[in-house]
Amino acid sequence: DAGVTQSPTHLIKTRGQQVTLRCSPKSGHDTVSWYQQALGQGPQFIFQYYEEEERQRGNFPDRFSGHQFPNYSSELNVNALLLGDSALYLCASSLVATSSYNEQFFGPGTRLTVL
C-alpha cells in the first residue's frame, strides 16, 4: 500500500520564478492538504483540496494556488517566489474532508530553496 508521495524531493529556484510541487495521496484517500514548514518551525496550513475544489485556506497570499485532479493527486503552485518561500512543503492526505476526525498521513516533503 503506497503512502503519500511527493515530487520533487529538492528544488532550487530564483526569486520571481514560479514553482509546481506534486503530491499523490495514500491509496483510498480523497483529500489533500498542503503545509509549509519553515526551518526550525512547525508546519503551517496552506490549504486543503477535496472533490477538486479548495475547501479551506490558511493565511497565505494568492501567490499560492493549487489544484486537485480526478485521481485525487494534487499540485501546489507558487508564483513570484520570494526568499521567504524557502521551506519544506508537506502534503498530507486523508479520507473525507468533513468528517469529525480524519487522520492525516504526511508525505516526505519537498525542500524548496529560493535564491
Partner: protein, 114 residues
C-alpha cells in the same frame, strides 16, 4: 485564534528512561482534537498519538501516553522506556472539530542517549 506552544526547544533522555514533553494551547472551542507528531530526519511526519477533547481518559499507545488537562489547556506527551529510534522532532498540534486547519507548535527536539 488557536495557538500551540511548546516551551522546550530541546530535551534529552537516557535510553530506557522516561521523558515528558510539554505542550499548551489556547482555544475558546470545546470540541477539538490534539495530536503529537514525530518528525525524524527523514522529514516524514508520523502520528504518535491523538486525543479527543471530549474524552476525559488520557490516550495511550504502547510506550506513549498523554496527560490531557482540558481546563489548564495542557497536553503533555510521556515516552516510557525511551529507545534510540525515538530521537526526532516532536510536534504538538491542534485541530478544531470540523475544521481542516491543523495548528502546530514549534517543536521539541528529543535526543536519546545510549
Amino acid at each position: 485564534a488557536q495557538t500551540v506552544t511548546q516551551s522546550q526547544p530541546e530535551m534529552s533522555v537516557q535510553e530506557a528512561e522516561t521523558v515528558t514533553l510539554s505542550c499548551t494551547y489556547d482555544t475558546s472551542e470545546s470540541d477539538y482534537y490534539l495530536f503529537w507528531y514525530k518528525q525524524p530526519p527523514s522529514r516524514q511526519m508520523i502520528l504518535v498519538i491523538r486525543q479527543e477533547a471530549y474524552k476525559q481518559q488520557n490516550a495511550t499507545e504502547n510506550r506513549f501516553s498523554v496527560n490531557f488537562q482540558k481546563a489548564a489547556k495542557s497536553f503533555s506527551l510521556k515516552i516510557s522506556d525511551s529507545q534510540l529510534g525515538d530521537a526526532a522532532m516532536y510536534f504538538c498540534a491542534y485541530r478544531r472539530s470540523g475544521n481542516n486547519d491543523m495548528r502546530f507548535g514549534a517543536g521539541t527536539r528529543l535526543t536519546v542517549k545510549p
